[in-house]
Point group: C2
Chain length 545, copies 2
């Protein structure tokens, strides 16, 4: 069996190494157009920032090391130009030479290409996809003084942080009204603030319209100095080679594959960023350019080629990024996507401490959960905080995979000692809130529903302490501390609906239950003052005031 | 409805607060024999060590605050002496007064009592269960100079660390051959070493036979100075009150309850450390004295009393402790317990980096997984390391609850960026190894099986680099680096079974697959040199040499 693999990074190299472990006799050829294979692409931004000082640390393997360990024929500087599926050959260019390589099975792992906006002068903008790009950006950053990062996604934010760390004046330009699109705007707002606090000039809701030799022009009319321009508005599956083979391209623009990663040609498999993945929620094709999936699917293809049964699983999509002192993480679908798809969903926010509040170093953690109101299925989750955000998202991603309902999160037995969590872990808290919502024990109101409810005549009651109320209050809120509420119910007009809120939602829940049992129509403002206040920072968001 | 709750900490107070949120009219009386309610008992050791400086930080609520918020009638200094189930009364002593309190429903949450060994002079030993105990130990520590902690469980280890932090010379005496019994010995060995490295005199495999006024005598004949003696060999359910009510006591010595936490008297519920829990694996009664379960069951009882449907779940048992710079965490069953119960189990160890190795600060993480070899069900897991141990155990505890099989751990989509994990997370690695074992792709040998296999004629091959081999090798191992193995197979006698090992098991797997495909009978030493070397530190362990 001769297997030719196009692309020598995550997906392709996972196939190659696994296949060798399963089949000592297979002929395995890896074609990589660049000069490096098996490099740590998720580490590239950190090398730019000097966090990973040693460039060689990024180069996990070389053709020589892969030959020694796995008897792989790894050819760097070899670009696959086209595929002839009938002849089962790949046309390859290596330097000035063009030749045909035959295969029994072909595995495509060509990755993705940066999306390049149609803007004058954009040719100067550099994108970060591989080690060579890193070298190029690093060289361009020397003496540049100023940098504009176009795109506020995970890579853009990591680039902004690392260019800042390198000493450049950095602006981040994002067309959307928020950074980090996998999160919803009220969850992302603290991350934009964190970037600003560390000297990044965050420009939301605007886009680059022109790249000049030392500056960029924005659609809002401003001009930003830009010795360096970095492009990070997203990627698009690299399907050029697949098209030469006549393979089916899916609805989302990636190579269409079945649950065994087989393309429309049974002799050709595809993995990684170039291939579509079935979405966990809908089963429909999706683009999920993440290393975890590339590796998993690479291994799966090796198993399939070796004639083994394979176990496939749809893609949930879990991602994390560090943003200076904060961590942002998400899994599954967000509210924007659910709303756009018209999918019923329930939203809840909690703001627990990352570990027991009485133990030093506890930091606030914002968690958001999206739940199917019919089945209680967990649709997605987001976490932002200085500590423990990645842990909670990992737990929630595992809960999604395990098919736990949102209320069942309350039953998870998570490791508790004061340095690590709470007897009721933040994830348990999500379960409690979800359970209260599912059983109708409590009714909540989202931050963006508040203005309308108040306009419709609701009374807003801040049940925090007077000191908290004085330190920052929602306009129009009347302050009745929760501990005084039982005695002061009569102060609330009996004929008007009541909205209660506290700082994070917990005391609000106590207050809401109390008032409901006294016959009041009451909603608790979900996520309390903290969620409302975060949302207020979102440009153009309702609820601001 | 009048509900009397005995015990005002985790379980009892969860019942009380939740019941009030569900029922504004219930009369709720909480009887607590001590002077405090709702204190942070898991924080007590850290107050002793000065990590939690402010004693008031431990006191989360007071009778006054609970009255204000939840209209609870909380009576500290009130000891429940006996129950008359026919009359539905509790006899209560408060100071010099004894009176009868009637109830419609009684909830018992009396907790557990320290196990006290029958040793002369043991009366001087102090146990840590509540804030008063903390004050007492703190006072006794002043000027004590030396301390002996009896018992190397989670509390004992936390006490040793915190007394050390307070400046005392501390010895830890544990009858077992390891600290932290929820872990298996080879996983616990690095924790004993960590204690020793921080100046704790760890005495394993011996016990205190006599407590003298300023010292203790051990069964191994030594005498240790002990200005202070602290007792932490475990707890036993406090069933004294339950017995006065004639309630059924279970096989494990706790109050027997059904899935609604109801005792043998339908008017009496029990929660917390005093109550037995159904084990997740067997469904049999178990003792699991953990705060998470106390809170969960406390809430469940409130729901049951309010007439709501309840969702009960068996206990998995997840625990964590910090041991100076390391974290030790475990969930489910360990190997010792599985072996003792005669339950079939497969064992696997991995030693990945806590996050991407090329990103600064990655620390080694030891993970152990116990798997049912028939169903691939996850039976338990353990983690030890400086970073990320709690996260991985939380993920694994969630996977157990969600019913994922061990190979399915490979499919988890966990949050990956270089500061947080790897594209193949340590938990994914466990899944890959489990999958290889389940499919017969690889065969492994445990550290304690090595001596026997070698005696039976197996050849041991160290496939690490010569430098690694020189730095520390298993006696009798021949060094053939994995990258040279393909060319040097002929050096291995064809008629003898081969055992390969590397540092952690990964290269050993590559080598084992290579040799197996060349027709050799081969086993990979599970967990590699690191697990073998850790096990060597276990007193009396096989595999030492």
């Amino acid at each position: 069996m001769k297997v030719v693999i196009v692309g020598g990074v995550a997906g392709g190299m996972s196939t190659a190494a696994r296949l060798r472990r399963l089949d000592e006799r297979a002929e395995i050829v890896v074609l990589e157009k660049g000069p490096h294979v098996s490099y740590a692409n998720c580490g590239l931004p950190y090398h730019l920032g000097g966090v990973i000082e040693d460039r060689d640390a990024l180069l996990l393997q070389t053709p020589g090391s892969l030959r020694a360990r796995f008897a792989l024929d790894v050819r760097t500087g070899h670009e696959a130009l086209s595929v002839d599926p009938a002849a089962r050959t790949v046309t390859v260019r290596a330097g000035d030479t063009v030749y045909a390589e035959s295969y029994d099975h072909l595995v495509l792992s060509p990755g993705a290409r940066p999306v390049v906006p149609d803007v004058p002068g954009i040719g100067r903008a550099l994108a970060l996809r591989d080690v060579t790009d890193t070298d190029r950006i690093g060289a361009a950053a020397e003496g540049a003084g100023t940098a504009v990062v176009i795109g506020g996604g995970f890579i853009g934010v990591e680039l902004a942080e690392n260019l800042r760390r390198r000493g450049l004046e950095v602006a981040l330009v994002e067309r959307d009204r928020q950074v980090l699109p996998p999160l919803d705007p009220e969850m992302a707002a603290p991350l934009a603030a964190e970037l600003s606090a560390h000297g990044v000039d965050v420009r939301l809701g605007t886009e680059v319209t022109k790249v000049l030799p030392r500056a960029v022009e924005l659609s809002d009319g401003t001009t930003l100095p830009a010795g360096l321009v970095v492009l990070a508005i997203g990627v698009r599956p690299d399907t050029a080679l697949a098209r030469t083979a006549g393979l089916t391209i899916g609805a989302r623009g990636g190579i269409a594959v079945d649950e065994r990663q087989r393309t429309s040609d049974p002799r050709i498999h595809a993995v990684g960023d170039a291939a579509e993945k079935p979405d966990h929620l809908t089963g429909e094709a999706a683009l999920v350019p993440l290393a975890n999936l590339a590796n998993r699917h690479g291994r799966l293809v090796a198993d399939a080629l070796a004639g083994r049964p394979v176990r496939s699983a749809p893609a949930i999509g879990t991602a994390v990024a560090r943003v200076f002192g904060l961590t942002a993480a998400a899994t599954g679908w967000n509210e924007k996507r659910l709303a756009a798809a018209g999918r019923p969903h329930r939203v809840l926010h909690v703001h627990p401490a990352s570990h027991a509040g009485y133990y030093p170093g506890a930091r606030p953690l914002a968690l958001k959960l999206l739940v199917d109101p019919g089945t209680q299925r967990i649709l997605g989750a987001q976490a932002v905080g200085a500590e423990g955000a990645d842990k909670r998202i990992d737990v929630l991603a595992t809960a999604i995979r395990g098919g736990l309902t949102a209320p069942e999160l309350a039953d998870l037995e998570l490791a508790y000692a004061p340095p690590y969590g709470s007897a009721k872990d933040p994830v348990n808290m999500l379960g409690h809130v979800a359970d209260n919502l599912a059983t109708g024990t409590t009714a909540t109101l989202q931050w963006h529903e508040l203005d309308r409810a108040l306009a419709d005549g609701a009374v807003l009651v801040d049940v925090r302490s007077p000191a908290e109320h004085r330190a920052g209050a929602i306009p129009g809120a009347r302050n009745i501390p929760v501990d005084a509420l039982r005695a002061r119910i009569a102060e609330l007009p009996a004929d008007r609906p009541v909205i209660v809120h506290c700082q994070v939602g917990v005391r609000g829940h106590v207050a809401a239950r109390l008032l409901a049992q006294h016959g009041r129509r009451v909603h608790n403002l979900d996520g309390g003052y903290l969620t409302w206040n975060a949302a207020r920072a979102v440009p153009g968001a309702r609820g601001s005031g």
